[in-house]
Each structure stands twice: as C-alpha cells, then as structure tokens.
C-alpha cells in the first residue's frame, strides 16, 4: 500500500534553455499545503507537472501512487483549478461543469446533480445558467474551483485560488479548504503572498527560481529562514582585529579574511545582532567603511513574501 502522499523525486523541467524547476524533491502529506513564491518561481510548473499538462525532463512524480502519465486513474482522484482564465465560448456555469462530469462516465442526471452541488458549494447557483464569459473575474475563479471539485477528488490542486475573491468569499473558500483537509484530502494551493496562506496552511513550501527554499509547517519555515546564515562583506581598516572581535558573537558562524587584509566576509544568522555588534565596534574605534549584504536571497524573499506585492 502506497502512502497517500504526493511525491516529487528529483524533478526538473526546462523550457528550452530556460529553467522551469530544478531537482525538486518533495513529499506532500494530506492537508493544506501552500506553494509560495514570487511570480515566475515555478509554482504553476510544479502543478502542471503533477497533473501531466507538461512532462518533466528528469525525475518522477507520484500522486497517491499514480504517475501523471495515467490520466484515466489520476484525474479521477485529482481536481486541478488552473490559473488560465478561460472557458469554452458555449459554456454556461452549469453546462461547463456538467460537460466535464460526463467524461467521468456519469449519466446525465448524476452529472447534473453533481454539477449543481458543486455550484452550490461555491455560491454560484444564481449565475449557473449564464455564460461563463459574462462572469466577473471572481466568479470565473469560483466556477473553475467548482469544476475542479465537482467529481469529489481526493487531491485538489488549486493555482492561486484566492486571487480575485472578495474578502467574504475568500473566508468561505478558506473554510472549504479546511473542511476538505479535515476529510483527509490533499489541498495544494499556490500563492505569491505568504501572509495570505501562512495561517491556513498545514505546511508551506517556499519556491524561488525553480528551487525549493524551505518546506515544512509555517513555524519550521520561519525558523529555517531565520537560521539560514546570511553573508555580509565588510570593508574596514583592520580586518584581522575586527574578525577576532566578531568571532566572539553567537550569531556569527564563519568569517573569511580578504587577501588584502582590508575586508572580511562574515556569515551571520541574525542581521539585527550583526548590525548592533558592528555599531559597538565602531564606537570602540574600529574604522568600518562599508557593510554590503553578499547574499540576501532567502531573507529578501521572505521580506518580499511577507510584504505582499
């Protein structure tokens, strides 16, 4: 018996020469999992890979034991609401979902009943018989959600599902996610705003430039980010003296002296404390010319995600 997990094993995907995702290894248990990263970081790529819309160049993916190459089995347990804001021209909310359900082999009556139920859950019954093309952005977002859940899948893959929803609907939708997660389903959502999802997620996966930066519960991710040492390049008059003083600080993990003895590379786990230490040293008479963050990736990413936008 395979564990009911979604497993990425060393998965890479290139778009021509451009990297999509690079050697992603993930093991996603049931519950709400948020893929968080800036636009273009590879969230949609991971979701498309998982559902077989695109094919990995390397590595393998199993969704509850089923590879993406077997859509007959995979799509029965998976519902994917994409970010592609389109619907067939002919479709009303109701016919759109009913038509999709017919492909699952449901009879027309059952398909219509399920479609109606899905529309009800997303509060779309009033608009059910209008053309999807005439919906507002938020309604189109919800109709895609309804379409993804109509066949009652075990694994829900939702690309930016909270985008464009007004606060009331957003709260209702988040409540739905919670319900599904409590039923033992996978609810995998993506967002480029960490604050939007950190409180509702059982786990968070941070992605940047096609690579996994951190994963785990939101608390572990926060710690991981805080503990991840950052590098700073410091130019000063007496590098070796400064190095010996800095090395006594707890948060400093590593120091490299520059060849010209006028600079040093400091690895610190805490920017604030480093700044305070450098301030004290300056008061003590050390001449410090410049402090430049040499690698701000994770920190900056985190700031960016917290900051919204």
């Amino acid at each position: 018996m395979t564990a009911p997990a979604v497993v990425f094993d060393e998965v890479s995907k290139f778009y021509g020469d451009v990297l999509g995702v690079n050697r992603v290894t993930l093991n996603i248990p049931p519950g709400i999992t948020s893929l968080v990263g800036p636009n273009g970081s590879g969230k949609t790529t991971l979701m498309n890979l998982m559902t077989g819309l695109i094919h990995p160049d390397n590595g393998s993916i199993l969704t509850r034991g089923i590879p993406p190459g077997n859509p007959e089995a995979l799509m029965r347990i998976t519902g994917y609401a994409t970010q592609y804001d389109t619907a067939p021209r002919w479709a009303t909310g109701f016919t759109f979902i009913t038509t999709g359900l017919l492909l699952f082999g449901y009879g027309r009556a059952e398909a219509e009943a399920r479609a109606w139920k899905a529309l009800e859950r997303l509060s779309l019954t009033e608009a059910a018989n209008r053309k999807v093309a005439a919906y507002s952005k938020g309604m189109r977002q919800r109709v895609r959600l309804a379409q993804a859940i109509a066949h009652d899948p075990q694994v829900l893959v939702l690309d930016e599902p909270l985008n464009g929803l007004d606060p009331l609907v957003r709260a209702e939708t988040i409540a739905l996610f919670r319900t599904w997660a409590n039923e033992g389903k996978h609810v995998i959502i993506s967002s480029h705003v960490l604050q939007e999802v950190d409180l509702i997620s059982d786990q968070v996966v941070l992605i940047a430039n096609g690579m996994i930066i951190a994963e785990g519960t939101i608390r572990t991710v926060r710690e991981e980010i805080h503990e991840h040492p950052s590098q700073y390049l410091i130019r000063c008059s007496n590098a070796s003296s400064l190095a010996s003083r800095l090395f006594s600080e707890d948060h400093v993990t590593e120091i490299k002296l520059h060849e010209d003895r006028l600079g040093l590379l400091v690895m610190s786990r805490d920017r604030e404390q480093l700044a305070r230490a450098l301030g004290r040293l300056a008061v003590d008479g050390h001449r410090i010319d410049t402090v430049v963050p040499a690698d701000e990736n994770v920190d900056a990413l985190y700031e960016y995600l917290i900051g919204g936008e």
């Binding site: 273009g40 029965r76 492909l103």
Partner: protein, 519 residues
C-alpha cells in the same frame, strides 16, 4: 470503484464510450463553428450549380413547348433545299423563329487574270508616263507589285513602254527594279515584277520622245500567279511631255467591290426532348442541327467531372483542412485545451473522440452535399428516364458518391488532424499536401499509395470525363492509376488512415499545455 471499472474487463468499451462522449461534446462545435460556415458553401456548391442548370433547362423547355410540340418523325423528315413555307406548312408553327439579312462587301470576281486596261479618248501626246499607286493591295499589305506596265499608241499593237528606261520608288528588292515592269514578261514569277514600299509609290517610263498614247494595260500581282488580294487597289496614270508637269488621264479607285445580300432564317421545332434548328439561306433549307436542353448522360458525365475534380480534390480537401487541422491547436490558442487534458481520459481517447466528431460532421456535410448534388442533377429529367437510370446503376452510383465523400473525409481528416498536432504553423505543410495530392498521378507507384486521392479514385462510380486529345501529362494528373477493386481501395485507405492517426496519437501524448506567459 470507477477506477476499478475502467481498468477492469470493461476497459475497452469504457474507452470507446468515453471517446463517443467526447465526440458528442465536440459535435456541436464541429457542425456549427462560426469560422466553419464556408465548409457548407463548398459542400453545397455542386447541388447549387445543378439546381440552377435544372431550373434553366426547365424554363427553356417550357418556352419551347409554348407553341405546342412537333412530331419527332416530321422533324427528322425535312430535306435540304426545302423552302421555309413548305416546312412550315408541314410542321406547323415553329417553337422559335428568327431571321434577317446579311450584307457583305465582297470582291467582284473578274476574269481579267490580274490585268486592267485603261483607255483614253482622244489620244494624248506624251513622253513620260507615270503610274501613281495610292493603295497598293486589297489585303492591306503595303508592298506595291507591278508585273508589267504597257503603253499603246494609236495603232494599238506596239507596246511603246517595252524596254524603255523606267524609274520609280526604290525597289523592295534590288533584283526587282522598275525595269522588270517594262521587260515584256510576267512568266518568271516574283522576280519578274517591280515592287516597292516606300512612299510615294510610283513607276515612271520615258518613251524617248513625245508620242500619241491612247491605252494602258497594268498587269498586277495575280497576273504573275500571286493572290488577287495583292493586286493594286487604287492607282492613277499621269502623262507629261516635259517630265515636270503631269496630267492625270486615268484613275482606278475601290473598283472590284460589290455588296452581297444573304437572307437567312432559322426555325426551331421541339418534340419535347430534342430541339431541331433548321437554317434557311435565301429561303432554302441549308443546314439543320439539333440540341437537347437536358441530357441525362451528359449531366451524369458532368457530375462525375465535378465530383472528381472539384469535390474530392478541392471541396473535401479544404473542408477537412478547416474542420480537422485546428481540433487541437484551436483549443490551444483559445486556452481551453487543458480542460480536455485534465479529464480522466487517455490522450488517444481524446484524439479518437475529436476525430470522430470531425468525421461525423464532415461526412454528413460532404456526403449530404454529394447526395443533394446528385438529386439536383437528376431532378429536372424525365421521370421514366430517371427511373430507368435508378434501376440500372443509378442507386449504386448515389451510394458510392456518398461513400467516396465520406471516405475522403476519413482520409483527409486524419491527415490534417496529424498535421495540426505536429506543427504549430500548418499552412505551408497543407499547401505541400495539396501539391502532393495534385501530382499524385505522376509519382512512382509506391509513393502513390501514400496519397488519399489514389484510393478515392476507384471508389468513384463514374469515371471523370476527359477529352480524348488531352496531353498525357494532364491525363496522368487527372486520372492516375488506381487500385483495381473497391474493397482493396477501402482497405488501403483505412490502413493509411490508421497509420496517420497512430502518429497523431503519439504527438498528442507528448503534447504540453503552453499558453505563453505562466505564473
């Protein structure tokens, strides 16, 4: 549970059912795509053409029958040379009648063998005789030709110009100088004449001393054996005693033409099927012809030609191009393809469903169009004749026309579906396919088998008409070698289609959703 079902024993029928579900969803779009309405125009064109032809023929028959029908035996009994009145007395009022008079200017035939004689009374004394030519020929050619210019005095026997010094416009040929017109001979053909084309055109003879002259004979081109059309049309003769002041003594202009009047009359009699046209010239029956407003055998041949050269090669070809090529790429550009790819169906099943939808729609449209065309072709004809045709092969013709159209959709549909899934810009390959199908007849036999048209040829029930004098290349292009029997042709086409679809299936399985910018 559903998963178990799909993988269990009922998997095959489950997939077929799924493909049919997909086909049903797609059918509406296949039939009523806004971009695809021109397909109907292509399919209905032959029916429209034959309908117009039928209406036209029916109206013509109605018009011809207005004065009553004529007995067929009487119609074929008329004899050449009979008068209009005699024919009318026997056959009655014609269905149509018209006539008129033609006036033609024709050249009066003369027996002068190309020589004209000009007499002046009384005789005049002159030393220089000059022939001025204003229009050198009847044909319009600008070269003047004179074989002999003779001048006679009072005794009328001696040619005073013979051998005298002659001058004139520069000769068109150094060997045909003015002396040739006074050498007393016309027998040696062209070199025995004077010719000139530089204006002014003239010939002048010096008689040596002033003499009394009274008659001139000019021997023109036809005197030397050339066409009468080259004879001099308009000229005059002038005389002078001093070579400076000339007096015109004879003129010949536009002579030799006359008006010819021909009275003609045409009577048309109609026996219900055949139309006899009797043409009378000057009141006598001169020629008779016949015409049929409607002929079933002719219309059948025309239908066969339209079906093979237009319907199969162009209408179905481009119709299938429009209906099949964009089954996948159209949804890619509309950004709706992922809905299909996210359905619990194998990609091959999706391909089969979409192909089935296209096939059903295109077959209905084009087989229907072929049958409508066939019906429109038959419709205006005599019921008895149609019944006879229907019982002696007509029914099977209709069946095979419809089948050839449907099989054409099957073959071309698979080809364009495959092109559409393999290539992003499929227009150039489509043009190559059109050329490939077009030159099919001159390819080596092994390559011919790789074209759809090769198989469709022998499924068509009536060979397409081709003029007997058509060049070999056209003959090959129009009617390439085809498999011997229909079953073989159908089998071959099915195998070709299956192979093409298998390749298309491979491409669809590898297809990735790529709508451009992604988050």
């Amino acid at each position: 549970m559903a998963l178990r079902q799909a993988q269990g024993g009922g998997a095959l029928s489950g997939r077929a059912g799924q493909a049919w579900t997909i086909a049903k969803i797609e059918l509406r779009r296949a039939f009523f795509a806004k971009r695809g309405l021109w397909v109907y125009a292509l399919a209905l064109l032959p029916a429209g053409a034959f309908f117009v032809h039928g209406v036209d023929a029916t109206l013509r028959i109605e018009r011809l029958s207005r004065n009553g029908l004529t007995d067929a035996a009487l119609m074929s009994g008329v004899q050449k040379g009979e008068t209009v009145d005699a024919v009318k007395a026997r056959l009655g009022t014609p269905a149509r009648e018209w006539g008129g008079t033609d006036v033609r200017r024709v050249r009066k035939k003369s027996d002068n063998k190309g020589a004209t004689t000009h007499v002046i009374e009384p005789a005049v004394d002159a030393r220089f005789v000059r022939l001025n030519i204003n229009r050198p020929t009847y044909s319009g050619n600008g070269v003047a030709t004179i074989y002999e210019f003779e001048v006679y005095g009072a005794d009328g026997r001696q040619n005073l110009a013979l051998g005298r010094p002659a001058t004139g416009s520069p000769p068109c040929d150094p060997d045909r100088g003015p002396e040739k017109a006074v050498n007393g001979s016309v027998a040696a053909g062209t070199p025995d004449s004077w010719c000139a084309e530089d204006w002014p055109l003239f010939l002048q003879v010096d008689l040596g001393a002033a003499q009394s002259v009274t008659r001139f004979v000019v021997k023109h081109a036809s005197a030397g054996g050339e066409s009468e059309e080259s004879d001099t049309r308009d000229f005059n003769i002038q005389l002078s005693t001093n070579g400076k002041t000339f007096t015109t003594v004879a003129t010949s202009t536009g002579a030799g033409f006359t008006d010819e009047r021909i009275e003609y009359r045409t009577l048309v009699y109609f026996d219900g099927r055949r139309e006899a046209r009797l043409t009378f010239v000057d009141g006598k029956l001169n020629s008779q012809g016949s015409d049929h407003p409607l002929r079933l055998d002719e219309d059948r041949a025309i239908f066969a030609g339209i079906f093979q050269y237009f319907y199969l090669r162009l209408a179905i070809f481009f119709g299938c191009l429009g209906m099949f090529m964009f089954l996948f790429s159209g949804e890619m550009s509309n950004r709706t393809l992922h809905y299909w790819f996210l359905a619990p169906a194998r990609r091959e099943v999706l391909l089969a469903g979409k192909y089935a939808a296209g096939l059903v729609a295109s077959s209905v449209i084009f087989s229907g169009g072929a049958l409508l065309g066939f019906a429109a072709m038959i419709w205006p004809h005599d019921a008895v004749e149609v019944q006879a045709y229907w019982n002696t092969g007509g029914m099977s013709h209709a069946f095979w026309y419809a089948s050839a159209a449907a099989l054409g959709c099957l073959g071309y549909g698979s080809v364009f579906l495959a092109i559409g899934v393999y290539l992003k810009k499929p227009i150039i390959p489509a043009a190559i396919i059109l050329a490939w199908e077009g030159i099919n007849g001159i390819l080596p036999h092994a390559l011919q088998k790789l074209s759809v048209l090769y198989y469709l040829q022998s499924i068509c029930p009536v060979p397409a008409p081709l003029p007997d004098d058509a060049p070999t290349l056209i003959r090959l292009l129009a009617a390439p070698a085809a498999p011997a029997s229909r079953p073989l042709a159908i089998l071959g086409l099915l195998i070709l289609t299956a192979v093409v679809l298998w390749f298309a299936g491979r491409a669809v399985r590898r297809m990735e959703i790529s709508y451009g910018a992604e988050g």
